[in-house]
C-alpha cells in the first residue's frame, strides 16, 4: 500500500521544501508574485490547506465548514491583541486552543455521520457560525464592520511606550508586516508542514488511512474509528485556527466573511487542485489559487491592451475583449476552467501531473510499473 519511506528522504524533502519556501521572495519575483502580501497569503493558505488535507486527504472526510475554524482563530487572535497586547505568540497559541475546542464540539456531533451527511453537517455548522458572527454576536465580532484593534483597548502587557505606535502586531519589536510578517508565517508553515509530515508517517496516520480505505472492515476488526477521526478533525481545526491567527497577525482585522461557505469551498478547491492526500499538493493548490486571485483579478483592459499591443489593431480589439472575460472580475472563470481541466485530466491534482512527468523520465532507465490505481504521489 504505502511505500516505505526512509526517514532520511523525509528530512531531505523537508529541507528542500524549507529552502524553497524561505527563498520564495527571490524566485517568485519574476512572475510578479514576489511581494509580501501575496507571499504571506501563500504561507497562510498553504498552512490552512495542509491542515484540511490531514482530515480530507487521510480520512476521506470532506469537511465543508473549515472556514469556521479560520474565523474562530482570527477573532481569538484579534481579541488577544486587544486584551493582552500585540505580541503574535499568545495570539497564535490562544487561537489554536480556541479553534481546537470549537472543532472538538463540532466534530463530536458531525462525525456521527459520514459521507455527504458529514459534509452537510459541517457546512451547516459553519454557516451557523458565520450568521452568528454577522448578527447575534456583533458585540464580540463587530459584525460586518470587522473586528479591529483600537487605541482605547486595554492591551495589558504592552508597555505604554508604544501606545501611539501603529497598531500592528510585533514580535519583540519586529513589526509583523511586509517581509518580516512573511518570514513569521513561513516559519509557522514549516513547523506545520513538519508536523503534518510526521503524522503522515506515524501509526496514527496509517490508522487514518485505514478509515479512508474501509471503515466497516476496521469496525469488524474491533477498532473504533471515531477517536481517530475526531483527533484528525481537531488537529485539522487547529491548523485552520492557526492560519486564521496568522491572517490577523499580518493584518489585525477579522471579518465575518472569512467564515462564509465560499471560504470553506476555497480550501476544498485548493486541496483537490493540488492533490488530496499528498503532502505538497495542498500547498501548491493554495498558492495557485491565491496567485490567480491576486494577479488575474488585477488585469484590466489597459494592461491587456499593453500585453497584446504587438497585434495589429483589427486583431487586438477582439483578442482583448475575449481575454477580458477571463481576467479582472472574471478571474473566477479562469480558475473554473483550470479546475475543470485538472479534475478531468489529472484527478490526483497537480501532484499527479508531477508524478506522471516523473514517470516519463523514469521510463528510459527502468521498466514501467503497471500503474493500476493512481496512487497519490505521497
Amino acid at each position: 500500500m504505502v511505500t516505505k519511506i526512509s526517514p532520511a528522504r523525509d528530512y531531505l524533502l523537508f529541507g528542500v521544501f524549507a529552502i524553497a519556501v524561505l527563498t520564495m521572495p527571490v524566485w517568485l519575483a519574476p512572475i510578479g508574485a514576489g511581494y509580501p502580501d501575496l507571499l504571506q497569503k501563500f504561507a497562510i493558505f498553504g498552512l490552512f490547506a495542509t491542515g484540511f488535507n490531514l482530515l480530507f486527504g487521510l480520512t476521506g472526510y470532506l469537511s465543508f465548514g473549515h472556514a469556521a475554524f479560520l474565523g474562530v482563530g482570527s477573532y481569538t487572535a484579534v481579541w488577544s491583541f486587544k486584551l493582552l497586547g500585540m505580541n503574535p505568540i499568545p495570539a497564535a497559541i490562544l487561537a489554536v486552543v480556541t479553534s481546537g475546542v470549537f472543532a472538538l464540539a463540532i466534530g463530536y456531533v458531525s462525525l456521527r455521520r459520514s459521507g455527504i451527511y458529514f459534509s452537510i453537517l459541517t457546512l451547516a455548522f459553519a454557516q451557523m457560525s458565520y450568521n452568528l458572527a454577522y448578527s447575534v454576536l456583533t458585540p464580540i465580532t463587530n459584525g460586518e464592520t470587522g473586528l479591529r484593534v483600537l487605541e482605547s483597548d486595554p492591551r495589558l502587557f504592552d508597555s505604554s511606550a508604544n501606545a501611539d505606535g501603529p497598531l500592528i502586531s510585533n514580535l519583540f519589536g519586529i513589526e509583523m508586516t511586509g517581509y518580516a510578517g512573511f518570514y513569521f508565517c513561513a516559519v509557522v508553515l514549516l513547523i506545520g508542514f513538519f508536523i503534518a509530515q510526521r503524522i503522515f508517517r506515524s501509526p496514527f496516520g496509517i490508522m487514518l488511512r485505514a478509515v479512508k480505505t474501509n471503515q466497516n472492515r476496521m469496525n469488524y476488526t474491533g477498532l473504533n474509528p471515531r477517536p481517530y477521526t475526531l483527533a484528525a478533525f481537531v488537529i485539522s481545526g487547529m491548523y485552520a485556527g492557526l492560519a486564521g491567527a496568522l491572517m490577523c497577525i499580518t493584518d489585525p482585522l477579522a471579518g465575518a466573511e472569512r467564515m462564509q461557505w465560499t471560504a470553506s469551498g476555497e480550501v476544498v478547491l485548493m486541496t483537490i487542485l493540488g492533490g488530496a492526500g499528498t503532502l505538497l499538493g495542498p500547498i501548491l493548490g493554495a498558492a495557485l489559487i491565491k496567485y490567480f486571485e491576486n494577479i488575474f483579478s488585477a488585469f484590466n483592459e489597459q494592461t491587456l491592451h499593453e500585453a497584446f499591443s504587438f497585434l495589429p489593431d483589427f486583431l487586438e480589439y477582439p483578442v482583448v475583449s475575449v481575454a477580458g472575460l477571463f481576467v479582472g472580475e472574471g478571474w473566477h472563470l479562469t480558475l473554473g476552467v483550470l479546475f475543470m481541466l485538472i479534475v478531468i485530466f489529472l484527478p490526483g491534482g497537480i501532484m499527479e501531473g508531477v508524478s506522471r512527468i516523473g514517470r516519463l523520465f523514469r521510463r528510459s532507465s527502468s521498466k514501467v510499473e503497471p500503474s493500476g490505481a493512481t496512487a497519490p504521489a505521497e
Partner: protein, 448 residues
C-alpha cells in the same frame, strides 16, 4: 521489480518546486517596485500610478462599476485627452491637462468585493507590487475605514470613494485619508427641516438599519435630528447586509404604532426593502390619523432606478445629482455622457472629484509625497465641481458643501430622471464642530 528503489514519489516531489513554478509561470505584467529614500512608491519614471479599488462584484457592484468609469474618465482628462470635463470649471487652475507634475497618470485596479479582507488585500497588492502612490475608491464605509487605516500604516494617501458613515472622518479618521462625500450627520441636518415641513413634528419613526458601521451611523444621526424636532422612535431594528428578503422585518412595522419607516439601507438592500415595504401596502395605510410615510436618508439615482415606481414621493438626501445646472455638473455630465452614453451617478461624481482633487493637490505641492500633499489638501477651498463652494476641512479631512434633499419624481421623463431636487441645504446649515465626532487624525505617514 524496481519497487524498492523506486524513488518516483520522492524525486517527483523534489521536482515539484520546478513544476509548480512552471504552472505558475503564466504571463503576467511585472511592474517593478520602486523604493527610494524619499517616500513610499515615489514615482521615478515618466508615470505616476494610482490605485482604483472598487467593488466589481457583490451588493455594491453597480456603484463600483460607475466609480471605475469615472476614474478612467478622470485619468483621461488629467492626461489631456477628451474634453477636459470639470478641469475647465474647477476653480484651481494648477492642472494643465498634461499629466501631474510632468508625469503621465497611469492606474491599476482592484476588486474590493465589498469585503474588508478582500479590499485590504487588493489595496496591499497595489501598494506593494504595483507601486501605487495613492489608493482611492470603495463603496462601503466598512471597506473605506479598513482601507483607510491600511493606507495610513503603509504610508500612502487614501481618497475615500462612496462612504457615508460619520466614522470615516469621525472616530476612525486618519491623517492620510480624505473624504469628499458627505456623511450621515449632514444628511440628518439637511433632511430634518424638510421632513418637518412635509410630515409635521408629531410622528413616530421605525428604523430598519443595515447592520454595520454606516447603518449604525445613519440611524444615530437620523434619530438625533428627528427626535430633536419632536418625533418619537418606536424601534430600531438591525438587518444583515445583503439580506435579500426583508418581509420578516417589515411585518412588525405594521403593528408597532409607528407612522414613518426610515430605511437605513443602501444599494440592492434598499431596492429590496423599499419594494417589499410598498408591496406590503405600508404607503396606503393610515396610522394615528396620518398617512404612513417612508424615508430613505441616503438616496442614489442607481438605487432609485432599481426601485422603479416605488420611489415616487419618497424623501432622501444625496451628495450630487446629474440634473444640477451649475457649470461644473453640466461639464461633467456632458463628458461622462459622451463617453458612456448615460448620466453619471453620485458615486461616479465623488470619485471623479477625488481623483481631480488629488491630482490638483499634487500639482500644487509639486510632489506626490503624502505629507506635503495632505498639507495642500487641508483647508483647501474650491469651487466648480458641482457642489458650490467647498472646503476640505483641515481638522477632520471632511469636505463641507451644500447637501441636496431629493424626492422620487412623480412623473419621470426618462429612466434616468427619477429624482427631483427638493431643496439645496446650504453648507452653513450642515456644518458641525470637528470634535463632535471624536477620533484623532494622528501624524501623517510617508511610509519611507
Amino acid at each position: 521489480m524496481s519497487l524498492i528503489r523506486k524513488p518516483l514519489n520522492r524525486r517527483s516531489i523534489l521536482r515539484a518546486g520546478a513544476v509548480g513554478g512552471a504552472a505558475l509561470a503564466t504571463p503576467t505584467i511585472f511592474t517593478s517596485k520602486v523604493w527610494s529614500a524619499g517616500y513610499l512608491n515615489e514615482p521615478t519614471g515618466a508615470e505616476v500610478i494610482l490605485g482604483f479599488n472598487v467593488p466589481q462584484t457583490g451588493a455594491y457592484a453597480d456603484e463600483g462599476a460607475d466609480e471605475l468609469r469615472a476614474y478612467q474618465l478622470a485619468v483621461k482628462h488629467l492626461n489631456g485627452e477628451g474634453d477636459g470635463g470639470m478641469l475647465n470649471t474647477f476653480s484651481s487652475k494648477a492642472l494643465q491637462g498634461n499629466g501631474v507634475n510632468g508625469k503621465k497618470v497611469a492606474y491599476v485596479t482592484g476588486d474590493t468585493q465589498t469585503k474588508s479582507d478582500a479590499a485590504r488585500a487588493s489595496a496591499k497588492r497595489m501598494i506593494e507590487k504595483d507601486g501605487a502612490v495613492m489608493i482611492t475608491g470603495g463603496s462601503s464605509s466598512g471597506v473605506a475605514i479598513a482601507v483607510q487605516s491600511l493606507c495610513q500604516e503603509a504610508g500612502v494617501i487614501f481618497m475615500a470613494g462612496l462612504t457615508h458613515s460619520n466614522d470615516t472622518t469621525g472616530k476612525d479618521k486618519r491623517k492620510n485619508g480624505f473624504r469628499h462625500f458627505f456623511n450621515t450627520e449632514m444628511s440628518g441636518a439637511a433632511l430634518a427641516p424638510v421632513l418637518k415641513n412635509a410630515f409635521g413634528t408629531d410622528r413616530t419613526a421605525y428604523h430598519l438599519t443595515a447592520d454595520y458601521t454606516w447603518g449604525w451611523s445613519q440611524e444615530g444621526s437620523i434619530k438625533k435630528y428627528t427626535e430633536g424636532m419632536g418625533w418619537n422612535t418606536a424601534a430600531a431594528v438591525r438587518t444583515p447586509l445583503g439580506a435579500g428578503d426583508f418581509s420578516q422585518y417589515i411585518t412588525p412595522v405594521l403593528n408597532s404604532g409607528a407612522d414613518v419607516l426610515v430605511l437605513n439601507h443602501y444599494g440592492k438592500d434598499m431596492v429590496n426593502s423599499l419594494t417589499q415595504a410598498v408591496q406590503f401596502g405600508l404607503r396606503d395605510k393610515q396610522v394615528n390619523g396620518k398617512d404612513f410615510a417612508i424615508v430613505v436618508p441616503l438616496y442614489s439615482r442607481l438605487m432609485a432606478q432599481g426601485a422603479g415606481e416605488n420611489v415616487k414621493g419618497i424623501f432622501g438626501s444625496t451628495n450630487w445629482h446629474w440634473s444640477l445646472q451649475d457649470e461644473g455638473s453640466k461639464a461633467f455630465v456632458k463628458s461622462f455622457g459622451q463617453e458612456y452614453g448615460f448620466p453619471p451617478s453620485q458615486a461616479a461624481h465623488t470619485t471623479y472629484c477625488q481623483a481631480l482633487l488629488y491630482a490638483d493637490a499634487a500639482q500644487r505641492a509639486g510632489t506626490f509625497e503624502p505629507c506635503a500633499l495632505a498639507a495642500a489638501l487641508e483647508g483647501f477651498e474650491f469651487d466648480g465641481m458641482g457642489n458650490g463652494p467647498t472646503l476640505y476641512r483641515a481638522e477632520d479631512h471632511q469636505c463641507f458643501k451644500d447637501v441636496l434633499v431629493v424626492k422620487g419624481k412623480e412623473n419621470p421623463s426618462s429612466q434616468f430622471d427619477v429624482l427631483e431636487v427638493v431643496e439645496v441645504t446650504p453648507r452653513s446649515q450642515v456644518e458641525y464642530p470637528a470634535e463632535m465626532l471624536g477620533g484623532e487624525l494622528g501624524a501623517c505617514n510617508n511610509g519611507a
